[in-house]
Symmetry: C2
Subunit: 264 residues, 2 copies
């Protein structure tokens, strides 16, 4: 998989990123690792997240991918400012997300939704304020969103009731730009739009990472693929019916070339 | 910890079991391992659950505990019928739970609530029918209950709305004996009783395991503690603020003697 782009997530949520990148770059091959055996990362300690993250990146490194994308926001908080991993270009999802949100916003107010680990890290607020010191940031942990997505409770009244609780301050304080700081959250798009003020903009990781990769290609830092056809490979650290169903929900079955279990 | 009883859970839910056993056996010392770094077990494959389970049991075995209690229901499904682990008496939570439910029931109808892995295993239904072939069993997976407990959403309207969904058939078909097939569920007792028919009996793992241990003591298979004072040791594979809070919610802080992080 020497010409592939590696994508790493704690689970299958990052398939939303794979899907977006595969659409933006139809020539490129991708190699996705989901660390399902040990998910969720969102409630682990920084030391444990970094340890597991390094194991996954090492695994992708040994497969000689040409770039590494950390789709998982909780893992990304451990790699801020790191431009490469053992010499391979490394992208995390936080810094590009901040830049995209600031460009999209019509005011100086950005809200961030994420897992407990992502919000506790304070990474989004810190980087947003580095980029634009006067920005007002509201960070909100939404720990039930991942289990709700994994139970398929989309367009669901219960999900919207829980969303209403999490989003109270965002609505009351009229934040109109919201970073979806977790790969699972794009699947809740409809539920969130039901609850948020009309006209609220949602910033999603897939689009943001596509822009970053585009810049790497344009600047010549990353060579474009030259093979006759591309491949999409999904490797996960555990294999259950549940996750197979979820994978099919997230990606159309014919688009995944290889789905295999690996041991880290 | 040569005179201790080892308790194993995927997380901290099993502290409900530790609390119950510590109350029943005030002389005994306990050594608890919560595999927090890799929880939840409830959505992993059988192979992965067994692999992680063996690692934890091995760890407790090396600490020379005198008995091993698997408090985690998902892990218990992997050790059915196994009476010892490397020569040390081994208790799982499923078989004793089935016996206790059949004794408690005034009819031949038993409902079981559990994680996806526990329910998918079909272990409860299989054992209940072995013990009483005419019993009618209704098994219901409740995958959102663990995250709801871990977010502290107890005595909460949202939790009750979700419970109402999960318990629809149990209420409609008038099941009056319900096994709480997950260590977290006793914390939802009040929420469940709000939703279930009045007079429904809940069978909890802590009580059930206390009875089993009592029998091992009474039969002489397990020597009683003889030290001057007992100790309670909690060892977890990851340490986060979140789980410290949860631990304190589940056990009073002064009752935990040692809380330490271990690597498996």
């Amino acid at each position: 998989m020497q010409d592939s782009i590696g994508i790493f997530d704690s689970g299958l949520g990052g398939l939303t990123v794979l899907k977006s990148l595969a659409r933006h770059f139809p020539q490129e091959s991708f190699c996705y690792v989901g660390d399902i055996a040990r998910l969720p990362y969102g409630n682990k300690s920084p030391e444990t997240i970094r340890k597991y993250g390094d194991q996954v990146l090492d695994f992708l490194h040994r497969q000689q991918v040409k770039a590494l994308v950390i789709a998982c926001n909780s893992a990304s908080t451990m790699y801020l400012g790191e431009k490469d991993f053992k010499g391979i270009p490394l992208l995390n999802v936080i810094e590009p997300g901040c830049r995209a949100a600031l460009e999209a916003a019509s005011d100086d107010k950005i809200a961030v939704l994420g897992t407990s680990a992502t919000i506790r890290s304070g990474a989004y607020a810190r980087i947003l304020k580095q980029l634009r010191p006067q920005v007002e940031v509201l960070e909100q942990a939404c720990p039930l969103f991942v289990p709700l997505v994994e139970e398929g409770m989309l367009n669901d009244e219960v999900t919207q009731t829980i969303a209403r609780r999490y989003l109270t301050h965002i609505c009351q304080q009229r934040f109109k730009t919201v970073i979806l700081g977790c790969t699972h959250y794009p699947l809740l798009r409809q539920d969130l739009l039901q609850v948020l003020e009309p006209g609220t903009q949602l910033v999603e990781s897939g689009d943001v990472l596509a822009r970053e990769l585009q810049q790497l290609f344009a600047s010549g830092q990353l060579p474009a693929a030259h093979g006759p056809s591309r491949s999409l490979k999904v490797q996960i650290t555990d294999l259950t019916d549940h996750f197979e169903r979820l994978a099919l929900q997230l990606m159309s079955p014919e688009s995944i070339g290889v789905l295999e279990k690996i041991v880290l």
